[in-house]
């Protein structure tokens, strides 16, 4: 089992004229990981566990800090097309994908354009579809530290949250969040964090094996949206976690790992 930073490899892959930084770990059938609106949080329990049997491929979205911004990428659909090209040139289709929040939205836009890119798709509290009850939290009206705190139900009771974000926030961490937030604004300022066309576009992905996971106390993307996702992707399965906010992968990591492994299979 890969455990420790030296098993995480980093490479720069040229896509169009952008040097995309891709972090990779593990071995086996590849799993594309699309990170959320705060950037890639790094090695967590869940991806360490999955990396035992899978090659985890985590590209760092352009403009989120490490990978340079590409001026022409102005929407989540642009970014989805960028990743479609990355996959086309680097990994034979179909590939498994897991996307978190904004990353889930990217995965869904990719599936809506070409569901054949994916073998199986996991969406974790995805943005992209406007919830029928409640609105997606306007985290742009918060400073980054408050946004991070709002992402979990019980920061003090979430050990991995403390490991990731505990203690005083270093200026470098703050800057990294600001990079991610700035690019998120460029991509998703309005309509905020959703695409009204997406539920219609996803009709083409009917039958794509899809698992949607959500925390019942998600304070960022209201879980009422889960039903919309189930309706949009025919055959999608929805798993709701109790006592869980927007980050099931750290708030309910054991259950999350079990569901993920069971769904992905070999």
């Amino acid at each position: 089992m890969p455990d420790g930073a030296n098993q995480w490899r980093e490479e720069t892959v040229r896509v169009d004229d952008t040097g995309l930084i891709v972090v990779t770990a593990g071995a086996g059938r590849p799993l594309l990981v699309l990170h959320d609106e705060l950037g890639n949080p790094g090695a967590l329990k869940w991806n360490r566990a999955i990396a035992a049997r899978r090659t985890i491929i985590t590209p760092l979205h352009p403009g989120f800090g490490r990978t340079p911004r590409a001026d022409w990428i102005c929407s989540i659909r642009d970014l989805a097309a960028f990743y479609a090209r990355y996959l086309n040139e680097n990994h034979p289709a179909p590939i498994d994908v897991i996307g978190f929040s904004l990353g889930g939205w990217i995965a869904a836009e990719m599936a809506a354009c070409n569901p054949g890119q994916f073998r199986k798709m996991i969406l974790v509290a995805p943005a992209g579809i406007r919830p029928p009850q409640g609105e997606i939290l306007d985290f742009f009206q918060m400073m980054a530290p408050q946004q991070v705190l709002a992402s979990v139900r019980d920061p003090a009771g979430t050990p991995e949250f403390a490991e990731l974000y505990g203690g005083p926030m270093a200026p470098a961490q703050f800057e990294s969040f600001e990079d991610a937030r700035a690019q998120t604004a460029r991509l998703a300022w309005t309509p905020f964090m959703h695409n009204p066309a997406l539920p219609h576009l996803l009709g083409v992905a009917a039958g794509l094996p899809t698992l949607v996971m959500w925390g019942r106390q998600d304070g960022v993307v209201p879980p009422s949206a889960a039903e919309r996702w189930r309706a949009a992707i025919s055959g999608a399965r929805v798993v709701m976690f109790d006592a869980c906010g927007h980050r099931p992968e750290i708030e309910r990591s054991a259950d999350f790992i079990r569901e993920t492994e069971a769904f992905l299979g070999d």
Binding site: Q141, M142, M143, P168, M169, T184, R186, W189
Partner: protein, 464 residues
């Protein structure tokens, strides 16, 4: 020297408690009474007529949204009226927030109409809009600088390039540009740029040969900023002079120093006061992507440590600049503004009485730093001389009457400044050779033979 009059046109009927609780941005508009607004807006227009009658060269307006701080939500409406009801003064717009307006062609038309109706008295200027404005108008802060640059270029083109033509830009697209509203002044009205010492903006001004107007900033970083302008101008091949610089100074005058101070201290709740601490909470002042990478780094230092984010709205706002010795001039200038504006707003319960006292208690410090000059004419003139000697601006704005100040006191202030302070100011400016952009074209001075540009401002007079 060009001397102008400026006030933020505050909505003075707002409760001081609400300002302390919220900052100016984000006070629920149930606290706004249009009947009182109607009286105030007309009063502010009348003040401009008075300023003209009393001999000011220009009347300056600005624009802010969703705030009791400034009632100029659509400044061009006020400017349009002034174009007709005044006869002589320059109408100076500092500035239109290009990124948040969203339609630069419409902006070009509006301003051209104002210039024609005023028979060529418009001076126009551009700003990026405060952070809060991006929320108030839903302008994407991640593209703020791009919107600004593109909209500016488009407006100038719309004024100067014979139509019809087609425009395909990154953010703006027009299939038919042929406005039948063109400025009377050729090639276009003067453009001045106001700011709070963003080095990026200053360099941009130098490149475009636009005068830069510092808005009541601390003197020391302002001089350093002049030097950044000077160096950027030298790269463009010209020597800066007073015509490249303007300064807005808060001045309150009364029959006695005590009376003037009593008025001026309320400015702490109205205008910039000790800075923009009361303008809005940090999450509204620093929207994502609004700042450059360098500025974000400075914000990060302010906000990354939760301990630093506690305390009064004035935390960190007491010094003219960061005292870090190893920082560059640009960093110190920008940090001084971040310190003042960030103000570290705690989300905890606000003790209104304690905060009010703290704000008022900080006034002597503001006065010492000459952020506000107040007193009898005899007291204030030497201080104004000092500011003029340090900064040597060709444009000077008297900024006053912000905060809950009565109509009578406002009028008296304007009168006393015009009649008893302005003549002396003109004399000092003449003695110091402070020429305005109307006397010497900005960017027209030649560099010295050595190629090394000369400074305009100097801190030396502060030492005397």
């Amino acid at each position: 020297m060009h001397i102008m009059y400026f006030t933020e046109r505050p909505y003075r009927a707002v409760s001081n408690d609400e300002v302390i609780k919220n900052g100016f941005f984000g006070i629920p508009n149930k606290h706004f009474d249009p009947a009182k607004g109607a009286v105030l807006l007309n009063e502010y227009l009348d003040e401009k007529i008075l300023a003209e009658e009393l001999g000011f060269d220009g009347v300056m307006l600005n624009e802010h949204h969703d705030t009791a701080f400034c009632m100029g939500s659509v400044m061009n409406v006020e400017a349009s009226i002034l174009a007709r009801i005044t006869k002589r003064v320059r109408i100076i717009l500092l500035g239109n927030p290009l990124p948040v307006v969203g339609n630069p062609l419409r902006m070009a038309e509006e301003l051209a109409m104002i210039d024609m109706i005023s028979h060529g008295r418009l001076v126009t200027g551009w700003v990026r809009g405060a952070g809060s404005e991006q929320f108030a108008t839903n302008a994407n802060p991640g593209y703020n600088r791009e919107y600004f640059n593109e909209a500016h270029d488009l407006v100038v083109q719309a004024w100067t390039r014979p139509g019809p033509w087609r425009y395909e830009g990154k953010h703006f697209h027009y299939r038919f540009v042929d406005p039948w509203a063109l400025p009377l002044q050729k090639p276009h009205p003067p453009i001045w740029i106001p700011g709070l010492l963003s080095p990026e903006t200053v360099v941009w001004c130098a490149q475009h040969r636009y005068p830069y107007i510092a808005l009541a900033t601390f003197l020391e970083p302002t001089v350093e900023l002049w030097n950044i302008y000077r160096d950027a101008a030298a790269k463009e091949g010209y020597q800066v002079g007073p015509e490249n610089f303007g300064y807005l100074q808060k001045v309150f005058v009364a029959e006695t120093d005590e009376k003037a101070r009593e008025l001026a201290k309320w400015d702490m709740f109205g205008g910039a006061g000790i800075g923009y601490s009361l303008f809005g909470k940090p999450q509204w002042m620093f929207p994502p992507g609004y700042n450059s990478k360098d500025a974000t780094r400075r914000v990060a230092r302010q906000f990354s440590d939760p301990a630093a984010a506690k305390g009064s709205p004035f935390a960190g706002g007491n010094g003219p600049a960061s005292d870090k010795k190893d920082s560059t001039a640009e960093e110190r200038i920008a940090q001084s503004q971040i310190d003042v504006r960030a103000g570290a707003w705690s989300d905890d319960h606000v003790d209104i009485e304690a905060t009010r006292k703290q704000i008022l208690d900080a006034f002597p410090q503001v006065e010492r730093a000459m952020q506000v000059i107040c007193g009898t004419p005899k007291t204030v003139i030497p201080k104004i001389r000092k500011v003029l000697e340090v900064l040597r601006p060709g444009i000077f704005g008297f900024w006053q009457n912000d905060g809950p100040i009565s109509s009578e006191a406002r009028t008296q202030n304007i009168r006393m400044i015009a009649e008893e302070v302005m003549p002396a100011t003109r004399e000092i400016a003449k003695e110091l050779g402070l020429v305005s952009p109307f006397e010497v074209k900005p960017g027209s001075r030649k560099l010295p033979a050595s190629g090394i540009p000369e400074s305009v401002g100097s801190l030396a007079p502060l030492g005397s």
